[in-house]
Amino acid sequence: MTDHEPKILVFLCNWCPAAAVDRPDVAAVAAEKGVREVRVFCSGMVDPSYVVKALASGADGVLIAACPPGNCHYMTGNVRAHARYHLLQKLLGELGVERERFRLEWVPHHESHKYLAAIDEMARGLAKLGPAKVGLGRG
């Protein structure tokens, strides 16, 4: 068990998840857990390269917070994100990146607790893992 304080990068969809998160109490808790946010207009906008870059640049974990299936403002963006998530998770695993470091969460607009639970679980898992062993220059 390390004392490592993980840095989590969250790609936050601007529709449902943002609505769930844009409350002062939620934002504060998230920040405490080491979350940095990047707002996107759709989880489908998140290119796997962003995830790779985040992990390579010092993020201990990356979370994509997406609208639940059927609720995407752009119809299929979130399911595309889901497909990319699965394939990327497989590649990351082969490169030595632990499963806990990358996560996709469906966050309905009225269920902030789901978001917080995901962050919490992720932070605890990452604290146990310690810093990433792979990344730019770490081999």
Binding site: P48, K53, R80, A83, K90, L95, G96
Partner: protein, 337 residues
């Protein structure tokens, strides 16, 4: 005009890249028209210790990945002695297939070591293996890159002409300029060297030169050996064959796809790509025909060895997550080009 002095050397790799140069010498135009070959161990029999006494080399063609400490020393010495260092072939440019050895190394795990012999023992000790495989630019500043495994004769010849020059440059340069991207061609045509860091290849993806017809971008399911052959006239990726042309730099003319096999990326990533593996994941996953999550999971389950396939030739220098620790003096060069 004085002849350029050139050196040709392979670190850890096959001899095919050197043979491409030798072949050009005999079948196109003798290199000796423009150059004196001052160091070419494979063909002329020069030995490693001659590197120390070597006077200025104008252009060095360096092939092979940097695997052993002897490779690293040779790379440093050749860099010191050469005005221009050109990475010849995928091993030197990106790490090549020897780079796959790095996949087995997580957490600085050391492989079994050789040469525990003392320095005055006989046989003399072997050059030790470095902890990881590196591409040439990760060891020394590299000026130009000729990609490919092996590099194709037309692009290699274009590079040779633009780097070696010669009195009758103008006539011969027209060929070089026809093969290269605009800004590089302009530099070459005006008699200047192309910008340092140029890869002698195109900028777009292989799809631009592939002869197959591309219709609908849809990935249904992974095609397996027990399926009948893909249609030779249509895009392989659309038929479920994992082809990396979409993220790979063009220049080969679509050799592999024309021969009925998918591209495996030996020219390295295309100009606009950040990480070829991530980009390929995006290209394939974004075009899955099904949107049903369970079916998506099933298709993903069919893929094997994504890492070894997507980074077949480029793991050391283009896989962002697995770049080796930078060497002293090369801190800026974790992932290039």
């Amino acid at each position: 005009m004085a002849k350029k002095r050139i050196a040709v050397f392979t670190a850890t790799g096959c001899r095919v890249c050197e043979s491409v140069l030798l072949d050009l010498h005999y079948t196109v135009n003798p290199l000796t028209r423009w150059a004196d070959i001052v160091f070419w161990p494979y063909v002329s029999g020069n030995s490693r210790d001659e590197l120390e006494k070597l006077d200025g080399v104008d252009v060095c063609f360096f092939a092979g990945a940097v695997r052993t400490e002897a490779d690293r020393r040779a790379a440093s010495k050749l860099r010191e002695k050469s005005e221009i260092v050109t990475a010849l072939g995928a091993c030197a440019a990106f790490g090549g297939m020897p780079g796959l050895a790095n996949l087995g190394m997580v957490e600085g795990e050391e492989k079994e070591e050789s040469s525990p012999l003392s320095s005055d023992s006989f046989p003399p000790p072997l050059p030790g293996r470095e902890p990881c495989v590196r591409a040439l630019p990760q060891v020394v500043e590299t000026d130009y890159f000729i990609a490919g495994c092996p590099p194709t004769p037309p692009l290699t010849w274009a590079a040779v002409q633009s780097l070696l020059g010669g009195e009758d440059r103008q006539n011969i340069l027209a060929f070089a300029t026809s093969r290269l991207p605009g800004n590089v061609a302009e530099a070459v045509a005006s008699g200047a060297l192309p910008p340092r860091g140029t890869v002698f290849a195109g900028e777009k993806a292989v799809c631009a030169s592939c002869s197959r017809i591309k219709e609908k971008k849809r990935f249904k399911e992974l095609r397996k050996s027990r399926d009948r052959d893909a249609d030779p006239s249509r895009c392989l990726l659309e038929q479920g064959v994992f082809c990396q042309g979409i993220v790979t730099r063009e220049g080969c003319g679509g050799l592999c796809t024309a021969a009925g096999v998918p591209c495996r990326g030996c020219f390295g990533k295309a100009e606009a790509v950040y990480d070829p593996g991530a980009r390929m994941v995006s290209a394939v996953a974004s075009t899955f025909e099904t949107l049903d999550p369970l079916e998506v999971e099933k298709i993903v389950g069919d893929f094997d060895d994504l890492a070894g396939t997507l980074y077949r030739y480029t793991l050391p220098s283009q896989c962002v997550l697995r770049c080796p620790p930078p060497l002293e003096g090369r801190e800026g060069a974790t992932c290039k080009p």
